[in-house]
Symmetry: none
């Protein structure tokens, strides 16, 4: 039941195309994640993306793609081809297209000088080239990198050029492009609400909320977006009055939430790790981790959240059995009798790290991440996880995948969700 | 269309374009992994992919994209728009484009009947529609799904239509498209070599190897591909004789390697974490980790590599000062006098974890990941890293970014690179 969020065709629609410049995408070495990210961001503000194009780093191709796109669309976003090296001809091509000259931008030059100084490096001639921009553009300041973004107005259309490094492009989209677009174009209202769930599959959720889904108003679309045990339910409403569609969506959310409450960890941009962090702060609790197969990834998830030092004391990655016994105090008998991947071991791991690290909560993981180490009784993907708070110890056995990295990530998120469910009273 | 001067490099090259039909890609819900896969496969047999295009599921858009592509390229591969619900548009559009009629293909109909029977289902009218194909096409038999692939010859060009379900498309590429292309086109060879470096910026590398780069033969192209402290140097050679271009590339690699040797950690698909793992195995050394600001991410990088239990014993995430003193034995005086983010503390962390976890090598990190916790002397992005092997302890201060996750990842990779440099004798 995957419904695509078709936007309404309104006379006020803004049509956009994304052009990625990069041989590495055409050679099949890199996925075009930039077009994916940009589409998503534009979609949120009601801009209709009608085409993605990937072309090579050649002047004729860039000029050709640009003039084609300019005939069709109101807005063109270009990524890539702006690095400091010689193979980049994008800026020169933009000068030809816009009939403009390359000039030094002093602000960009100052930024670059400081950027290099901070890294103990000299400004090279190549760096200096990066401060050159077409005279007719407005610079989009790239605080975290060296290649500036550029904003051009052309025959009532807007053409934007951004670096291809994903984090730099993302920074510019979030901080420059989206706010500027919002202020310059009048767009139909689109309102999104995302309900974020963990631990229930797409089909389970879909079966549970089927009657509600069938009764949704025409102008509200539902999409299921699954990743790693998480399923996002995204409601998208379109209309002429923002307040009206907000109220509509909120009413629908109030109807569906009670049907799937224990699986819901948050809304919109709330991440599971942040929700867990917030719960720990609110309840004044501290946590520690004891990891085997997840190899530090649970600790990484916890410490990804800013301010996690308020509740996270630390943890241990007890990869070998010696570390499990010597540093974590797991009983060697337990390991001998049941093995490292067992309910008995995982219980001791969670309970012991809690005591040794003097925290309110201890969590633990032990499993067969793969690709080797599986057996008929404990195949690759078998993972035990546990939660201990001094009163009770909860354990759970997961049967996951043949893929090592997926097992590590999935098991770690499952531990986070176990903490969330316990702190919210669902466990 | 002013810039239709498309320049062919070689008269014998086969130029291909990939057109993906799919609103889910334009909406930013799905990554265009199909174009990625197809590019990779074509590249291996020497077909030059010059463009990816993504368009919506509309007749005019498909016709437009197809006729544009047909003017430029020898080979067009289309994916998507063949599911049982969208069936009509793409196939009808292909009929219009090729001036052909839809007819029932009996072989496909038989396959579909069997396909449904095996799943205990009846052949529906929708299924029957899937057995309809344009009269002028050759069917590419889709054994694992219901939508057949189609192969058209048109003005000496080849146009291929495949379903958008990745595994069905992949099946058709491997079993039908690639073998058929090989038998029908004579293609030039393409050879890639990637030199993977860590720790030197793109512009530093570019300045260092400038003279070599300028002297590269016409048929060898160089690209810089930077991510997180890593820079890939990709050499791509084209020619009529595979052995000749391989030798050419190898000769160029031999020339450039000595110029940047200490920064090179590997070639082609080799990852830094795997190279470090291999070095540890070869030198029979074990390693342990003591992490503060990286919060488990160094451990995660190490344990991402399959078989890492051979050299990784475990580690500690000493997030709080109490854990640093109690579990890792850092001198409280050191913490008091110099603070957690200091050369003195990081030295003790690396040395102590090595002793406590009884490993040959101990590594450590401590820094201000941000967004809070910075000060004028130790701003956000200040990270100390260390390596201890019982003989010497190396420390390094990094001045990184305003972004928390970037600091965590960058610092962790820098620790891995420090281990690599020491084990390879560059430190």
């Amino acid at each position: 039941l995957l419904y695509l969020t078709y936007l309404l065709d309104m006379t006020t629609s803004i049509y956009a195309e994304i052009i990625a410049i990069g041989d590495e995408v055409l050679f099949g070495q890199t996925l075009n994640t930039n077009a994916h990210f940009i589409s998503n961001e534009l979609q949120k503000i009601g801009v209709k993306v009608t085409r993605h194009t990937v072309i090579g780093d050649k002047q004729e191709e860039i000029l050709y793609a640009l003039s084609e796109a300019e005939e069709r669309s109101d807005l063109i976003l270009i990524t890539g081809g702006l690095g400091p090296t010689k193979d980049d001809i994008t800026k020169k091509t933009l000068c030809i297209f816009f009939d403009s000259d390359l000039i030094i931008n002093e602000d960009v030059l100052n930024h670059l000088t400081g950027f290099m100084q901070k890294r103990g490096r000299e400004l090279t001639e190549t760096n200096r080239q990066q401060a050159m921009v077409p005279e007719k553009c407005q610079v989009l300041f790239n605080v975290i990198g060296t290649a500036p973004g550029m904003w051009f107005k052309y025959h009532k259309k807007v053409i934007i050029s951004m670096p291809g490094v994903p984090r730099e492009m993302q920074y510019l989209m979030d901080n420059e492009v989206i706010p500027k677009l919002k202020s310059q174009f009048k767009m139909p209202f689109i309102y999104h609400k995302i309900i974020r769930t963990y631990g229930a599959g797409e089909s389970t959720l879909s079966d549970t909320i089927e009657s509600w889904e069938l009764g949704l108003p025409e102008n509200i679309k539902l999409a299921y977006l699954p990743t790693y045990g998480e399923v996002k339910l995204r409601l998208t409403a379109t209309g002429q009055d923002l307040e009206v569609i907000k109220q509509q969506v909120d009413a629908e959310v109030q109807k569906v939430v009670p049907m799937i409450q224990p699986h819901i960890f948050g809304y919109d941009d709330e991440e599971l790790v942040e929700v867990v962090g917030k719960l720990l702060v609110e309840q004044g609790k501290t946590i520690s981790t004891a990891e085997s197969c997840t190899g530090g990834f649970i600790a990484h998830l916890i410490t990804q959240a800013a301010g996690s030092s308020r509740y996270y004391q630390g943890g241990i990655v007890s990869y070998s059995n010696e570390i499990k016994t010597e540093q974590l105090g797991v009983n060697p008998e337990t390991l001998m009798q049941y093995g490292a991947v067992s309910e008995e071991t995982i219980k001791e791991m969670a309970e012991n790290v809690r005591l040794r690290y003097k925290t309110d909560i201890g969590v633990a993981s032990s499993g067969v991440a793969g690709p080797d180490g599986g057996s008929p009784e404990k195949p690759v993907g078998t993972v035990w996880i546990a939660f201990a708070d001094g009163k009770e110890t909860y354990t759970r056995k997961l049967s996951l995948f043949p893929d090592r990295l997926m097992n590590i990530q999935f098991a770690s998120y499952s531990v986070m969700d176990m903490v969330r469910r316990k702190l919210q009273g669902w466990l």
